[in-house]
Symmetry: C2
Subunit: 196 residues, 2 copies
Amino acid sequence: MSLVLDPAAQDLLFREARTANTFSDEPVTEEQVRAIYDLVKYGPTAFNQSPLRITLVRSPEARERLVGLMAEGNRPKTATAPLVAILSADNEFHEELPALFPHFPQAKDAFFAERPVREQAALVNGTLQAGYFLIGVRAAGLAAGPMTGFDFAGVQKEFLDDDHTPLMVVNIGKPGENPWFPRSPRLAHDEVITTV
Amino acid sequence: MSLVLDPAAQDLLFREARTANTFSDEPVTEEQVRAIYDLVKYGPTAFNQSPLRITLVRSPEARERLVGLMAEGNRPKTATAPLVAILSADNEFHEELPALFPHFPQAKDAFFAERPVREQAALVNGTLQAGYFLIGVRAAGLAAGPMTGFDFAGVQKEFLDDDHTPLMVVNIGKPGENPWFPRSPRLAHDEVITTV
């Protein structure tokens, strides 16, 4: 019993949660998305930079445009998921830093004056937050289907702008019929962890 | 009540969990690290590529070398945390792909033959897993102190090799006295989430 988190929560978030490939018709509500965000926004990022941005693709027209930009194998599930979200990183996150990191407002200029530095920081910290978001979707009793198989330049052009880099597209909903592949194996402790 | 995860678990993982800057003397055991890994290894990555690697810095000699590579402001806490872990991404993760993704073993050569592609995939998916790991540390009732303020080239040279890219260094333990800054504000829902 080395974990404090109760076993039901362990199962909900990690052990029984799976990447879904089919979804039921049950909608994902605004209230659910709000609750997920209000939980995962507290996950840590460097300088509290919080660069993750989320685009909810709710209109049929927008969904159709997005499906056309997905890799072939990702199209059916992206077309039918109750909700699809584009996760992106805001490369201009430094504009919010004086408000987000009030005990060291100089960080904006001292560390993030250069765009390439911001792009790298936004990629890394936005991806960390994407991890928290996937856990948050599961905390809402929903399955997430994160995908990186899509036309990144096309998604940026159609849905974002030059200041936002796409990270992943996530299908969200209750699992449907035959929702998952067999669980793939994981690396053993000793293949991942070394001690010096 | 839009979340299924029980409120105590929400607090443990997100709401009350904080990035600690001081730690108690209580050791972090091998059993705790094993339990954390055995939970978070199930978090999803693209093609189940699982590129995260973890180096536990346990010997006093190794700790001293690492402290010397940390940014000034990170040295005292890195010197005194009960456990320090270097998280890195394995750029040669594709060697394990046929075992990790058995229903499409061709992925190794079809998608990951080129080193720059692997480096980008390992950075993104390793960082996702770093997010899961930080959640896992909190699931063990411990505080994590993730840091990117260190000499990346130096840490790679001293603790890793050419095939492993450092992602972050994480202090781990029970919080000590005055362990945290005041909670910094987070972006509001409407600053992060847009609907199309």
